[in-house]
């Protein structure tokens, strides 16, 4: 069925996309490891956001709404996908890596692999908070809202995660600690 929207809503959507598309894409990419899937996820989130605008005209905190949506979409994506992350060999079969001229895409995937290889050394709940703080640049308060956890818990998990990563990245410390 055809729907008609006020022009202002499109203008608003354009502003919102411009402001948040990079952050949301990065969020999705570091949860899926797939450029194409990340694009699809972000696209879907914005389309749903736009449709909801008509019915829920007041979204108090757009950033929170969008991050919550993208987070849920990524969780759904991971649930549906048996293999949480594609191996580099598997990714190499995909179109994006076969575009050898699009070397930036390849570098993005390599960066994803590098960072995930580091984060896999800490428990998931700590790794996710490190991602949210370091990669998504969310404040601890925003992370707490997003995960519906107390700020103190978020900070603690961040600290424990970083402490473990210090040991991983600096083995001398590990020996010393032991």
């Amino acid at each position: 069925m055809e729907e008609t929207y006020d022009r202002n809503i499109f203008d608003e959507l354009e502003k919102v996309i411009t402001e948040f598309q990079d952050q949301l894409f990065r969020f999705a990419f570091f949860r899926t490891g797939s450029l194409a899937d990340s694009q699809d996820i972000v696209q879907d989130v914005f389309v749903i956001f736009f449709k909801n605008q008509k019915h829920t005209s007041t979204i108090h905190n757009v950033k929170h709404y969008l991050f919550r949506s993208i987070s849920n979409a990524c969780t759904d994506y991971q649930r549906k996908k048996k293999n949480h992350f594609e191996s580099i060999e598997k990714i190499s079969d995909s179109i994006l890596l076969r575009e050898k001229d699009a070397s930036h895409h390849l570098l993005m995937i390599e960066e994803f692999q590098r960072i995930e290889n580091i984060l896999k050394n800490v428990p998931d709940e700590q790794a996710e908070i490190v991602r949210l703080r370091v990669l998504d640049n969310l404040s601890f308060v925003e992370i707490a809202e997003l995960l519906a956890q107390p700020v103190t818990t978020v900070k603690s998990r961040f600290k424990y995660g970083i402490d473990k990563l210090k040991l991983v990245l600096h083995p001398k410390n590990k020996l010393y600690e032991l």
């Binding site: 069925m1 055809e2 729907e3 008609t4 929207y5 006020d6 022009r7 499109f10 203008d11 959507l13 354009e14 996309i17 411009t18 598309q21 990079d22 949301l24 894409f25 990065r26 990419f29 450029l35 694009q39 972000v42 696209q43 914005f46 389309v47 736009f50 449709k51 995909s94 179109i95 076969r98 575009e99 050898k100 001229d101 699009a102 930036h104 570098l107 993005m108 960066e111 960072i115 580091i118 984060l119 490190v130 703080r133 370091v134 990669l135 404040s139 601890f140 308060v141 900070k155 961040f158 600290k159 970083i162 990563l165 210090k166 990245l169 600096h170 410390n173």
Partner: protein, 444 residues
């Protein structure tokens, strides 16, 4: 603050909302304590290591895809009869840029890998669709360019022996799309429904269908954002080479291709872009990524000649609506291009036989008995033909041949005109019309 407290709370330094007095205490302690300072450095190193070494941003097409998606869902802007979304100039520019970039990337990939199967082809197809969509996003453009050609002859003709002739393309992308291609001796205009060819000197005014071939190869310039898609399609079957480089704020895409067509007889070699060995150098503005220039070099016996040169393209500039209309002089009317003629005398015969019949008729000054043969000539041009060729004497006629991409055939001839001069040339006849009637197409 002691070392234990500092190490326990050190992560607070990465929280903008942390208590300011706590932050001050932590900083003071770290400055004074070597051990905690080293600890802090390690923490920072971890965060630096976790930070991506390259920018990871949304693809340029993302915004366009979102709007496309909304469009597919029948979501429209409430604004009069407008059914599609009206996007801001910024988004339009972003989309056009994205389309061009992706077209380049995919084109190069195609040529490098020569792989058109599976996901790649599917994705490429999707990118090319976006590229085509981008045409809707530029409102209008004016292209100024020069070609080594004859001012009055068709737009396809090129040749190093001709001077550079200035051309202008004006295109409006608003629906219905309209365009005008002009050189000093010839204008072709599309008003959204029909193509119109106007040759002022001989008062030739022809109205053709939407797909009439009045501008031939130049059609590609009417849709700059899909040039690479079309070049890709063209090149895939012709083993063209494509390269891309960036330099001084410009993006250069170069395509080197061989002449297309049948050159057992090379009469048509190098008479059009497609029928020449050439190198096409497209220039895109690196900032806007829009097409800004094109140079086409004719490659002939290790010599290269600049045969077509786009000096400038202006996008979204004011265009006088009268550019998309031609006012004919009094007494001249548009003549419908009707190729569905019938003439049994000139169908089911060879082109050589048709030429013999045509020269025989001209010898008798008879241009009317088989007027269908002259269907492409108007009253004025037929009058010129009669005065020049009426009463001629056929001296010799040769065997017909095909050359290049020309759909018809060429018949060499030698005639003696009534003023006593001899003329040796090649008559061009074509019968690619519904009833296969041979018609005079040129060569007189």
């Amino acid at each position: 603050m002691n070392c234990n407290d500092c190490k326990n709370d050190m992560h607070q330094l990465f929280d903008e909302s942390a208590d300011k007095s706590l932050i001050a205490s932590l900083k003071n302690h770290i400055e004074a304590c070597q051990s905690c300072s080293a600890e802090f450095d390690e923490m920072q190193n971890v965060l630096t290591t976790l930070h991506p070494k390259i920018e990871i941003n949304a693809p340029l097409l993302l915004k366009q895809n979102i709007f496309n998606d909304l469009n597919k869902n029948n979501i429209n802007v409430k604004e009069g009869k407008v059914k599609h979304m009206q996007l801001s100039p910024f988004i339009k520019r972003v989309m056009a840029v994205a389309a061009v970039i992706m077209a380049i990337i995919i084109s190069i990939f195609f040529f490098d890998k020569n792989d058109t199967s599976g996901n790649t082809a599917k994705a490429a197809s999707s990118f090319f669709e976006n590229s085509i969509l981008a045409n809707d996003l530029v409102k209008n453009m004016i292209i100024k360019f020069s070609v080594h050609t004859e001012p009055k002859d068709n737009f396809e003709l090129i040749g190093t022996e001709y001077n550079m002739v200035e051309h202008t393309i004006i295109k409006s992308f608003d629906k219905p799309e309209k365009w005008r291609v002009e050189k000093p001796g010839r204008i072709v205009l599309f008003d959204g429904n029909n193509q119109y060819l106007w040759i002022p000197e001989i008062k030739e005014a022809v109205k053709g269908p939407e797909n009439a071939g009045f501008i031939d190869w130049m059609k590609i310039l009417l849709e700059p954002s899909s040039i690479l898609w079309k070049e890709e399609a063209e090149a895939k079957s012709n083993s063209s080479k494509i390269t891309m480089k960036e330099s001084q704020g410009k993006l250069y895409v170069t395509i080197t291709s061989k002449a297309q067509g049948n050159f057992l007889n090379d009469y048509m070699k190098n008479k059009s872009i497609n029928e020449s060995d050439n190198r096409r150098e497209y220039v895109f503005d690196n900032k806007t990524k829009l097409l800004k220039g094109l140079k086409i070099y004719l490659l002939e016996n290790k010599k290269e000649t600049l045969i077509l040169n786009i000096e400038n393209i202006d996008y979204d500039v004011a265009i006088d609506p009268s550019a998309f209309a031609i006012t004919l002089p009094a007494g001249v009317e548009w003549k419908e291009l009707n190729l569905a003629v019938t003439n049994e005398n000139f169908s089911n015969i060879t082109s050589k036989r048709a030429a013999e019949l045509i020269f025989a008729a001209m010898a008798k000054n008879d241009f009317d008995s088989d007027k269908e043969v002259w269907a492409q000539f108007n009253f004025v041009t037929k009058k010129i033909m009669k005065s020049k060729y009426g009463g001629l004497q056929l001296i010799k006629i040769g065997e017909s041949f095909k050359s290049g991409n020309y759909p018809g055939e060429f018949i060499p001839y030698e005639i003696k005109l009534k003023d006593g001069t001899n003329r040796k040339w090649k008559l061009a006849l074509r019968n690619d019309n519904p009833n296969k009637v041979w018609m005079v197409d040129g060569g007189l």
